[in-house]
Subunit: 340 residues, 2 copies
Amino acid sequence: MNSSQVQVKVLPPAEVRPEHFEVVDVELPEPGPGEVLVRNTWTSVDPGLRLRLRADAPEGYFAAFPVGQAMDGIFTVGVVEASQADAFPVGSTVWHSYGWRTHAIVAADEVAMNGIANLRVLDAERAPAQAYLGPLGAMGLTAYAGLHVIDALDARGTIWVSAAAGAVGSLVCQIARLTGLRVVASAGTDEKVAWLRDVVGVDAAFNWRERPLGESLGEVAPEGLDFYFDGVGGDHLEAALGAMNNGGRLALCGSISEYEGEPVGPRNLFLATSKNLTLRGYRGSAHLDLLEEMQDRLGGWLADGRLTYRESVYDGIRSAPVALADMMAGRTTGKTLVRI
Amino acid sequence: MNSSQVQVKVLPPAEVRPEHFEVVDVELPEPGPGEVLVRNTWTSVDPGLRLRLRADAPEGYFAAFPVGQAMDGIFTVGVVEASQADAFPVGSTVWHSYGWRTHAIVAADEVAMNGIANLRVLDAERAPAQAYLGPLGAMGLTAYAGLHVIDALDARGTIWVSAAAGAVGSLVCQIARLTGLRVVASAGTDEKVAWLRDVVGVDAAFNWRERPLGESLGEVAPEGLDFYFDGVGGDHLEAALGAMNNGGRLALCGSISEYEGEPVGPRNLFLATSKNLTLRGYRGSAHLDLLEEMQDRLGGWLADGRLTYRESVYDGIRSAPVALADMMAGRTTGKTLVRI
């Protein structure tokens, strides 16, 4: 059984470039007892991967991808092609974590981090399979859990969502709006801003490159911010601290601005004290208990057309490194996917 | 009626020095209807004053003290010497906010920030009057509220208290220990460390000047930290982020290291995301609803000798600027007070 997989050739010293990876052909054995052979159809490209391309991956996060081996832990969907496990008959659509490769042998009883099953059959009726890599998968969970941890679900007030045209950000905007918040959103191109305003339907949107963040926030949220969803860090987090109302709550979902190069902490963190703010770091994977609730709510909104999302699709396993580099450089919109 | 008061001569450009203040003699009138004349006996010296000596006082905090006027808003106790208000007879021991002066005319019905009465009679039986400037006053409330906002009261686990020999820190250590936590404490001199270990009775204490904070924490809390009480900021906050266990909670009570000079944000704030941490900024004054509960619990521990505290006492109103400079430079221990 011939397959192809992406391997790390060298950990990127600064920005990710396609030449930091190579695509290697690998011979796979037949699945053994209790195993299935999955032909992967879609695989995920997400910002968290960048952290696993650092020799000094932050404590508590996954270890760096080993050089010269298959990259593990990347969410993927596929179709079972050969099975020695009764619960996963040939032809089932499944979800597992052996991505960035064309085929994978997966043990049916393998347990992923946090104790959930790694291999799971998907309900491909509810939504297209790749939606489980986006709004109904890790992205949806990250968005939903972020609002949950700051008690912003079904709340009232104003939220600023940064990196709002991203896969997680655009879901946060919509969940927030659909559950009652006033949403102001920022992104880095006029096209993204227009999409947020016209399609996603936020209350206000601005291009953060245009002028100082504090000025833009003062205009779109003169009443101040009650909530902030941070997917950027750095200057965005500083601006949020400046604009928060007393008692405000901030969800820290990962700081894409700090994945490459030296991180800079917010120099105005004292405002957390003076304004009684709560900064809540979290990872979606710590809130798997919310997965079904999220899939029910978001699945319903998807079905009745109230939830929109965008995909940047790259074709073929060889395009995965390019997709990651493009995403890190801000050249993709919405969920970045590779169709294999 | 002759009185003396401390005024700001010039806002300190860097470290506070006594020459930034001057003591001015002021003639006071007789108290009018509804007013009392208080002879102040003790006045407070606390780190928050430093923030009001900056032209760029952080948003949400009090404004800077005006140059050449009496400094307002500083907690003080005294004795009523003349009264035109029935609720405050001559001889009562009272608490109000017109400190850093020998005498004050106070309106009986004046409302302080947050809507509480500014002038209040103290129960001088329960504890010496100056205790209401320390463990039973703003210090006690700040300590108690800090543990409250991170759900650490009556909890189990390990807490690191920084600036632990300070007025607030040493109370935090004791409240945490008396309500069930394992307490590790840090301070900047061996004498303070010995006091914390031998008198305050923490489980472990170390001198942060001796070696890298991460090393010391690894030794005194090999099981990691569940809670952190931050009165320092800067490198201490970074070390705490590094040592926190998953799901840990941090109370940010003001960053004395950043009151003078350029603040530096924690460069490892990403750990808040990877370890699902909560950083909770707060001001004691936002939790006046806890004042009675705190005075009941701490008053009881004081009465039965389970709560200890230290005072650094300076004599005479003219010594107030020296007291503040000494406190900011780390030369005082426990609550810094001026006996007038």
